[in-house]
């Protein structure tokens, strides 16, 4: 069985979501399967409709505008497109957090088809227990 990486995506900031998709690429390159648990502000970025406008984390400070521009100019793929491409060569499972989904009245149908299932935190922690590394972004 392949080694596993677990990632919790909490922040809805584009730079953090991209960090998640890029680290996932590194995991797949190293032959690892990836389980991603998407909650809170990150989950809003998986909605089919009504996604909040993309922002960067506060770390970007006054460079935010410049970075957004550079990413657009260099045609950096979105975090979601990176994950979808990754699924062509490796195992990347994306799960939505049941608690936040319930809170916001979000159903599986409201989310991008990349979401495999809506699961509870206990189920995800059980997956993370079996994995080699767990990241919270």
């Amino acid at each position: 069985m392949a080694e596993k990486t677990s990632i919790i995506l909490f922040s809805g900031a584009m730079d953090k979501l991209m960090a998640g998709s890029i680290i996932s690429s590194g995991a797949v390159a190293n032959g690892m399967d990836v389980d991603i648990f998407v909650t809170f502000w990150a989950l809003l970025q998986l909605k089919k409709n009504g996604r909040p406008a993309p922002t960067l984390s506060p770390d970007a400070g006054n460079m935010a505008g410049q970075i957004m521009q550079v990413m657009a100019e260099k045609k950096i793929p979105s975090w979601l497109d990176t994950l979808k491409k990754l699924q062509e060569i490796g195992t990347v499972n994306v799960y939505a957090c049941a608690m936040f989904a319930d809170l916001m009245g979000i159903k599986k149908n409201d989310l991008d088809p990349i979401v495999k299932d809506i699961i509870g935190v206990s189920q995800f922690v059980d997956m993370a227990r079996e994995s080699k590394m767990t990241l919270f972004l």
Partner: protein, 79 residues
């Protein structure tokens, strides 16, 4: 190098780390043993990452070549 003809060439110039490496891995997975896969990359990270991956994965690193404004990394699929 000149006598090893690539089975497949991936032009990933303009794509950023880890893009070119992921393209290479995709071609590797779709290919067969004996295939020689060449990737063009203008990205510095890939120049280090791709050879490391090729060796770690038990394949053969044919070479890393500096071309005009990009790198060419060539691997042979051994397994």
């Amino acid at each position: 190098m000149e006598d090893v003809k690539p089975t497949k060439v991936i032009d990933a110039r303009g794509s950023y780390c880890p893009g070119p490496l992921m393209e290479l891995i995709k071609a590797y997975k779709q290919g067969k043993v004996g295939d020689v896969i060449s990737v063009y990359s203008s990205d510095e990270g890939t120049r280090k990452d791709a050879p490391a991956w090729i060796q770690k994965s038990g394949n053969e690193l044919v070479g890393v070549y500096t071309r005009d404004g990009y790198y060419e990394i060539v691997m042979k699929k051994v397994k």
